[in-house]
Amino acid sequence: MKISEVSKLLCAKMICDHQLHAFDVEIGYSSDLMSDVLTLDTDNLLLITGMCNLQTIRTAEMADVHAIVFVRNKKASTEMIALAKEHGICIMESPFTMFKASGLLFNAGLKPVY
């Protein structure tokens, strides 16, 4: 699924460089626990989370996650945006709950990790 399609489905504001809009994610993972995100070894993962801090971006950097949706209307700080840009991570901000965002993406064909 194209990142631009994700942002459309979730009415999400997209914060990333333009060339990133075209890349694909195949698998979704919804969690507020970075401890769990670090145990995954899945490529092309979209992280759906309400945990909105610098450590979320760091975790994505280490886990090779290139796309994050912040749910429940959480806003990324300028520091987070700068770190994400530095590492080619695309950030989206959705007004939906984690449940609604996950449901919409699942329906649209995004696969679960397990």
């Binding site: 626990l33 401890s35 670090l38 145990t39 945990m51 801090n53 450590q55 950097e61 886990a63």
Partner: protein, 136 residues
């Protein structure tokens, strides 16, 4: 090649500085991406553990032709029962740590999974030393 870092306990914004740097260096050296990911995840978990559980720490990294050796030494409460701490789900993390998205008791098992050699030594009330080796 040698790299050194220091970490302050409690300062979550610092966790990831060493792993981020190491990731860049290993990429430049052309190490296999899967291998880089394991090394970086293990180092990041160890960094977060110092920030979450200890007072301050030192990281010493040695990159050789065929392997990377990382030693993370901290001053802190130490680990009374290392075997217990290695179990998935065991955590003494504070509320503050949990609010940051950590403290599920998954870090040490994840370090084990992502390293070729792991040795943890601790003196209760004083220090913890984590030594990790990964072969390229």
């Amino acid at each position: 090649m040698e790299l050194n870092f220091s970490i302050e306990g409690g300062d979550f914004t610092q966790a990831g500085q060493a792993s981020s740097r190491v990731k860049k260096v290993l990429k430049q050296l052309g190490v296999d991406p899967k291998c880089i990911k394991s090394i970086v995840i293990a180092l990041y978990e160890a960094e977060v553990n110092v920030v979450a559980h200890a007072h301050r720490g030192q990281i010493r990294i040695q990159i050789e032709k065929d392997k990377i050796i990382t030693i993370i030494e901290d001053e802190g409460p130490g680990i009374p029962d290392i075997a217990l701490a290695m179990q998935e789900g065991f955590s003494t993390a504070s509320k503050k740590v949990r609010e940051m998205g950590f403290g599920a008791g998954m870090g040490l098992p994840n370090i084990k999974k992502n390293t070729n050699e792991l040795q943890i030594d601790s003196v209760v009330g004083e220090s913890t030393t984590v030594k990790m080796v990964n072969y390229f």
